[in-house]
Symmetry: C2
Subunit: 333 residues, 2 copies
Amino acid sequence: MIKTPYLLFLGDAPDPLAAKVAQGIKDWRPDFAIGQLRMEGCRADMGLPDMTLAEAREAGAQTLVIGVANRGGVISAAWKKVLVAALEEGFDLASGLHNLLRDEPDLKAVAEACGRSLHDVRIPSVKYPIANGVRRSGKRCLAVGTDCSVGKMYTALCMERDMIARGMKASFRATGQTGILITGDGVPLDAVIADFMAGSVEWLTPDNDPDHWDLIEGQGSLFHVSYSGVTLALIHGGQPDALILSHEPTRAHMRGLPDYKLPSLETLRDTALALARVANPACQVVGVSVNTAALSDEEARACCAGIEARIGLPTVDPFRHGAGRLVDALAEV
Amino acid sequence: MIKTPYLLFLGDAPDPLAAKVAQGIKDWRPDFAIGQLRMEGCRADMGLPDMTLAEAREAGAQTLVIGVANRGGVISAAWKKVLVAALEEGFDLASGLHNLLRDEPDLKAVAEACGRSLHDVRIPSVKYPIANGVRRSGKRCLAVGTDCSVGKMYTALCMERDMIARGMKASFRATGQTGILITGDGVPLDAVIADFMAGSVEWLTPDNDPDHWDLIEGQGSLFHVSYSGVTLALIHGGQPDALILSHEPTRAHMRGLPDYKLPSLETLRDTALALARVANPACQVVGVSVNTAALSDEEARACCAGIEARIGLPTVDPFRHGAGRLVDALAEV
């Protein structure tokens, strides 16, 4: 568990896109983001107060989160200076970078000397069990995609926000690096050892109140041959009561696989539902979320309406149109 | 790659079952098994010549394979003495034990001093790629089970033996610890990091002659919620041209999951085939292998005949009745 609130480190981000992780935290956990720390030349801005390390500590920040993707996979000397100073100032560090904080001898030494924690959220920090398949109390919703990177995480976060606003009991459950940095907790599922994948998802979504919903962050796709095993482990470990079908309508082929076409939403629906019912015979498909970022307003509405007419399920872009109709559909489950 | 031939270490096996790995090597790779080494009190016997370390080296043995499951997960002091002597005598060591050879400081030190290798086949030794889904030349057959431990490995090994005897080009491809120790090579799939599972299977079954068959060792089951993700990665990384359905007819529930019933062979057929065709649209289900170990001769024949009448595919216990009809079925693919 990463201590909150955060100071968001934007480093020398060459453009706003490089600070995607910081943007996600600011969008989805504004209470966690009390300030930003930018180095000279930084071209990203979260619109948060610019703070020095000392000011942020004073304001209560516990963890410096690296909210920016670094260039060339290396923690630069310029960054290193700030990270060391942060440890000395009393911050923990958290990062989803490929090159791990713990693999930097100086960071490791200073963290040990100062009694601070280094959180590399790419690496599991828990010894997960093998899944036992026992039914758990509470309810669970999972987005499954026609492809990878079609908006499954945003769908879950949009639904959680809407549910909290309605006074419903809901928890977003992160299964990827960005999700973990947004929430401060979760399972980096793509880095878990094969035998423990489903067990890690059981661990992530334990027994809960009968009227509580876990919104589990989806991963991969049953139809993406590189990652489908991760997706099936998520379906069987998650035991979802409700599935949302997620789709990006302009994708010409499966991400990174030029020879693979996307499945139809009907094929996704039938395949995912049959597999989900192995673990939870009561599972239902309740709606469709469409990532319409590449479409105009008019195109987006027409696209959702067309899918809704065809599939007969509430169909929205939850980020653009709101997740209300998807949340309404959960009430029927 | 583990150097062959082997001297099989049976240790102080309390009963023949404890030496299952040695039995597998002796049954399936008799050429690799030139002798056995038994300690005082050993109650297992492969019927191989008993050899000292020196005699086995003289006869050409390269690797001492731990062919026995140890008690309590600990490499005992009595074993250790033999293992150290083997390293000094010039043997590599190979083991599928949970407690790793490399975690024993004395074994590690002696191996380094003598220039010998320690093979812990539970742990991947290769940095596998992420699967790219590109179609590979050559043909591939995979057994998929209604449950775990229903005879998928034996089905593949029986088919390989039959094919080699007919002069066909065939390679068993090991994906589990026992299979790896039997063949000296393979991928310990259940220990691979989630993101690289399918890629490790692509690596295991590379391009080959158009008339060559890989017989890929199956793992888990699409219907076993603890391990289904491993199975799907195997299906999508393996790109099988032919599937065999494997079944154990006396199983009352899914292994280790008392609340889960086995799927019907029809459900397994339809589910596995649809998923396999994502990676290989030409995939076909060609036969059924039944593990009839718990049945009498008469019951076994009746069971297979009943399934064959129902499913309309050649149905045999390949270990009991021979794999010939399954191999015949491959010729049609």
